[in-house]
């Protein structure tokens, strides 16, 4: 009895503070401190984020457009981001405020998106602000008319610029043209000398008097002519004052035909190559591919694999022209077949993940409390049962 009495007294002693404290049970006071962005469930008394005032001005200062973002009531070093083209647009500049302002230069930028963030404050966004136009902030013009410029220059859009005069002389802000500045501006039988076209002297009477790549062009009825370039045709060379074709099927030489699609030119002959691979695969697969050249297996041919991250590796095919392609990552693999250092064929193999990227699970845990508690109670019952069974056994003994 004494023990029960003491127990009761102690229980009361503990009950008083516990029960008296119940009045303020709910209502968490969650802080919203930066970096500790608590997300309380019972967030009834959470401090609201503070507001800040943001203003934008664009002004002209000495011919330079200066844009100022003023952030008031937010302390120092608020983060400012300026973009063009909305929130997803290009960042034009970014930085922190100093003495409540953030400054940047630039003109003719319309539709600015300005975002200001600061620890403990609700972020502030502004959309549609424009900077001043560059023209509205232009310095006074250098000139109004040609007379304001030196005689060799003229006035263009308020600036003195050189008078364009490639073949002539500038006099009084204007270009006076010469008769000629090069032979091409004279007739075929004339040369340009001191900006005047004069008759050309006879240069040759036979091809032998000309260089190997020229021939003697004698006009009809004339005794002599000029050494002119031999007319060059396709895929050949000039030899002994005449054009001689090579007779190649293909080649890199000027004018030589190129091979049809799917073939490359090797030793002036068109050769075709091919790579046979599955076009798709699953990450982790190893695909067997076959390389051919002119319909035959391309044995010991070089091939290059470019993986989706841009990594390249070069290997050789086996004697049957086969090789294996390991798909280690998702994305497009490029396989290029080479012969004598030249790319014969490039194909693409797409590697997919086994399953598409799944959305991260929603942050809600399933309510397993009830089944778990049931299991716990079953456990207790089991333990008690075992203890009871043992105590009975003990009594029997």
């Amino acid at each position: 009895m004494k023990l029960i009495y003491i127990l009761a007294v102690m229980a009361l002693l503990f009950a008083i503070p516990a029960v008296s404290a119940q009045s303020s049970w709910y209502g968490y006071n969650c802080q919203g401190y930066y970096g500790y962005g608590y997300s309380c469930i019972h967030d009834d008394n959470a401090e609201p984020k503070k507001q800040m005032d943001v203003a934008f001005t664009s002004s002209c200062d000495g011919g330079v457009v200066t844009n100022v973002i003023t952030v008031l009531d937010a302390g120092d070093e608020a983060h400012v981001v300026v973009k063009q083209g909305g929130e997803a647009g290009d960042i034009i500049t970014a930085g922190d405020t100093e003495n409540d302002i953030f400054t940047f230069n630039g003109c003719d930028v319309d539709g600015l998106y300005i975002k200001v963030t600061q620890s403990g404050y609700a972020r502030k966004e502004m959309l549609g602000e424009d900077t001043l136009s560059c023209s509205s902030c232009a310095p006074p013009p250098e000139c109004v008319s040609d007379a304001d410029c030196p005689s060799a220059e003229r006035c263009l859009s308020g600036e003195c610029v050189n008078v364009p005069c490639e073949c002539g002389t500038v006099q009084n802000h204007q270009c006076v043209a010469y008769e000629c500045c090069s032979d091409s501006q004279c007739s075929a039988n004339e040369l340009c000398q001191n900006h005047i076209c004069n008759p050309k002297p006879a240069e040759c009477t036979a091809d032998a008097q000309c260089a190997a790549d020229k021939y003697c062009n004698i006009p009809a009825g004339a005794a002599g002519g000029t050494c002119d370039d031999v007319t060059v045709g396709d895929c050949g060379q000039v030899e002994n004052h005449a054009f001689v074709p090579y007779g190649y099927e293909c080649g890199p030489e000027a004018g030589c035909p190129s091979c049809p699609q799917g073939a490359v030119c090797i030793d002036h002959t068109c050769k075709s190559g091919d790579v046979s691979c599955p076009t798709t695969g699953i990450v982790g697969d190893t695909k067997t591919c076959t390389a051919t050249e002119g319909g035959q297996a391309c044995a010991n041919c070089d091939y290059e694999v470019t993986d989706p991250s841009g990594g390249k590796s070069t290997k050789k095919t086996d004697e049957n022209g086969n090789f294996e392609l390991s798909l280690d990552m998702s994305g497009a693999y490029q396989v290029t077949l080479f012969k004598d250092g030249q790319a014969l064929k490039t194909i693409q193999v797409e590697a997919f993940k086994k399953s598409g990227p799944s959305e991260p699970e929603k942050p809600t845990a399933p309510d397993m409390t009830t089944p778990l508690l049931l299991l716990v109670f079953l456990l207790i019952l089991l333990v008690l049962g075992i203890l009871y069974w043992r105590s009975r056994d003990g009594k029997k003994k």
Binding site: L3, I6, A8, M10, A11, F14, P17, A18, A21, Q22, S24, W25, Y26, G27, Y28, N29, C30, Y33, Y34, G35, Y36, G37, Y38, S39, C40, I41, E77, H79, V81, D90, I91, T93, A94, G95, D96, K115, T117, S309, M329, S330, P357, S358, P360, E361, K362, P363, T364, A365, D367, M368, T369, L372, L375, V376, L379, I380, V383, L384, L387, S391
Partner: protein
């Protein structure tokens, strides 16, 4: 093992399993102070072992080495869950088996309450696994210490006390609380009889030996911590800590909150009491049982009763911190002994209250059950239900937590980074130590830089806790440099160059933060940024690569005098990767050539880095630089100390357990040399060391448990017992 003991083990195993059920789904358990990911146990996570950072939170790298070894077998994800499961199990089992067998089934009350209480609940939600592991060890450690005090000359209590206190040092907070309890136990042991002074004199030698052995066992983390303390820790004022970590006036007054085992410095967690209107009913009955236990124990073992009562009172006063009668002492300690501020969160002392309730409650339950003539089983059922009802929130944690799978774009970014073999780092922006991650599958989404455990390369972590009154209490010149770059970002056009001294090859900008754009400007702007490539863009992140950075060692044309302010928008012409070296271990390199007069180590700015015995000069106050005069060894001077003391503690533990004869002792001592060489040479990395540690300690523990060697049990310290 007796069948009763087996049943108890099964009960706590099943309970721990049931509690862990919501976390058994695929994914990691991420919490306020708990990171986990596929790279949780890679070598880069052992910077405390390698002497890069102090082990100020305790001796947990050996535990993590063992976990690393386990992760090689069962995956990091399963290892994390196994770790939490074991901690929960140990809480119950250690409390249960720390009580005398005569208590019978009343011991279940202690085990259940010690395992299921608001303190464990909130620390589990916060991810304080090392504190909980230490807390789980306390009852057995105190039992061993009491046996040691009773029989100071015997070997087994001595060994068990030293090793269990060392195990509890997995949390520096936990071991200090345990030592407070041990001190209280010693005081009441001395007061037990009138011959207290004589008793004290007899105890001085064994106590000194125990203290010495425990200190030697713990030097491997204490010594590096002391060495690095001055260069890494910049304590704020006690007032700042008090303001930021003060007792919160939630729904209960602080005193009632602590007395009911509730309390945390942070808002937002939901306890069982918040959803159970009559929570105080089971609590009152638990408290009543504890009171009954106290009264019963006062008659039987008064000094023991007073000890447990003192644990409650001292725990209560210390937990009140600045809010209680010891507030002036709290502030004074903070000013005179800055390290005391590791207890800025004074609620950790609530663990002492849980200990007192569990032990006293078990005595009370035993007393009540013995006094009943019939319906004992029904009474036992009611008693055992009390902790379960008081804390039923443990089962599913009131929907507050779940497992989290990292987003698909994190996985893709991780794949790209891990394909890069360079020994470089990742800079994650915005650079907050704690941030909210919307994809975290928990109601509290604030996490401590999960990228550090997800990605395969070291993540440059911000050290700022960003509390209202304490931005950071860590000295972090590299963090200051990073902050400088971001502060001046509007005018910076050489981002890639500026990040070279941080060895930052990869930069991740997390999109979900509203100020992410502000950082993005440094890497992505119209016209591009020189040497910065956007490698990948996902739904939640950008991944950039700094093409200038390819490794941690750089050659510098100048000594880098002056502050880092000189570097903005100045081409660092004299900086190149023209250094040839051989990697020996993560903090030691054999430098064979350097293309400039100065060698620059971009990974650590620690004062104990040395090159051929020369200490570093600060390169523009950012990193370590050395004049290069020829090939030599670049190393961290803390690692050899930390490694030697770790091996010493390891071998001493084995020696204490198996008590070898002369030949065995010589062999044991001799094994230190190859162990040291192999670990220094990185042939034995943390995983291999963890495997060896687990096997060797398990073998020695089994031998110890089987009473080996028989002869060593008596006259261990040549002290007469009693």
């Amino acid at each position: 093992m007796e069948s009763n003991s087996k049943l108890a083990l099964v009960v706590y195993l099943v309970l721990a399993f049931l509690i862990m059920l919501p976390l058994l789904r695929p994914g990691y358990y991420l919490a306020l102070d708990m990171q986990a990911g596929p790279n949780s146990y890679t070598d880069v996570q052992f910077s405390d072992f390698y002497g890069d950072v102090p082990s100020s939170y305790g001796a947990y790298f050996p535990t993590r080495m063992v976990m690393a070894a386990i992760s090689d077998i069962i995956s990091p994800e399963a290892t994390e869950k196994l770790q939490l499961f074991i901690i929960l199990f140990l809480c119950g089992a250690c409390a249960h088996f720390s009580l005398p067998e005569e208590h019978g089934n009343a011991r279940y009350f202690a085990g259940l309450l010690y395992m299921l209480n608001p303190f464990v609940f909130v620390r589990f939600l916060a991810g304080h696994w090392s504190l909980l592991l230490s807390y789980a060890i306390w009852p057995l450690a105190l039992l061993s210490f009491s046996q040691f005090l009773e029989k100071p000359g015997e070997r087994r209590p001595f060994v068990k006390s030293a090793l269990l206190i060392t195990l509890a040092a997995v949390s520096s907070h936990g071991v200090i609380i345990l030592l407070v309890c041990c001190a209280l136990m010693l005081v009441f042991h001395l007061l037990k009889n009138r011959a207290g002074l004589t008793n004290l004199l007899a105890l001085i030698k064994p106590l000194a030996l125990l203290a010495a052995a425990t200190l030697v066992l713990n030097l491997f983390w204490i010594a590096p911590t002391i060495m690095l303390f001055g260069s890494t820790y910049a304590p704020s004022s006690p007032e700042s800590y008090i303001m930021d970590f003060k007792l919160l006036a939630m729904d209960l007054p602080p005193e009632a909150s602590i007395a009911t085992m509730h309390g945390f410095w942070r808002y937002g967690f939901i306890y069982t009491k918040d959803v159970f209107q009559y929570w105080y009913v089971p609590f009152i009955l638990i408290a009543a049982l504890a009171c009954a236990g106290l009264i019963a124990l006062l008659r039987a073992k008064p000094h023991h009763a007073l000890f447990l009562f003192a644990v409650f009172i001292i725990g209560f006063l210390l937990a009140l911190g600045n809010g209680g009668p010891l507030s002036s002492a709290f502030t004074l300690f903070g000013k005179e002994l800055p390290i005391y501020m590791i207890f800025r969160d004074s609620h950790k002392f609530i663990g002492m209250i849980c200990l007192a309730y569990s032990m006293l409650g078990s005595y009370g339950a035993n007393h009540v059950l013995r006094s009943l003539q019939r319906r004992k089983l029904a009474a036992l059922a009611v008693i055992l239900l009390l902790p379960l009802i008081y804390n039923f929130g443990f089962f599913n944690f009131l929907g507050q937590i779940g497992t989290t799978q990292y987003p698909a774009d994190w996985v893709e970014a991780g794949r790209i980074i891990s394909a890069d073999p360079s020994e470089t780092s990742i800079l994650v922006l915005p650079p907050y130590l704690y941030s909210t991650y919307s994809w975290s599958n928990a109601t509290q989404k604030t996490l401590p830089t999960p990228a550090a455990h997800f990605f395969s390369k070291p993540v440059i972590i911000s050290q700022g806790i960003m509390m209202p009154h304490i931005y950071s209490d860590i000295k972090d010149v590299r963090g200051d440099y990073r902050a400088y770059i971001f502060k001046k970002r509007q005018y910076i056009n050489n981002t890639a160059e500026l990040l070279a001294p941080l060895n930052a090859r990869y930069i991740i900008v997390l999109k979900e933060y509203e100020d992410a754009d502000s950082y993005l400007w440094l890497f992505k702007r119209r016209g591009g940024v020189d040497n910065i490539t956007l490698v990948y863009e996902g739904d939640s992140l950008y991944l950039f690569r700094n093409e200038l950075v390819t490794g941690p060692l750089l050659a510098s044309a100048d000594a880098g005098e002056g502050g880092f302010q000189q570097l903005a928008n100045v081409s660092i012409d004299g900086l190149s990767q023209n250094v040839s070296y051989i990697h020996i271990n993560p903090v030691t390199y054999l430098i064979t050539g350097c293309g400039a007069p100065y060698l620059f180590y971009a990974t650590s700015a620690g004062p104990f880095m040395e090159f051929n015995g020369n200490r570093p000069e600060p390169w523009h106050a950012i990193a370590s630089t050395f004049r290069f005069s020829g090939p030599g060894i670049l190393s961290n001077g803390v690692f050899p100390v930390s490694l030697a003391l770790f091996i010493l503690a390891w071998l001493l533990t084995i020696a204490l357990l198996i008590h070898p004869q002369k030949t065995g002792a010589v062999l044991l001592a001799a094994s230190a040399v190859p162990l040291y060489i192999l670990a220094w040479g990185d042939i034995l990395g943390p995983h291999a060391l963890g495997t060896l540690l687990a096997i060797s300690l398990a073998s020695a523990g089994i031998m110890f448990n089987h009473g080996y060697p028989k002869k060593a049990s008596k006259s261990f310290l040549n002290i007469k017992c009693g």
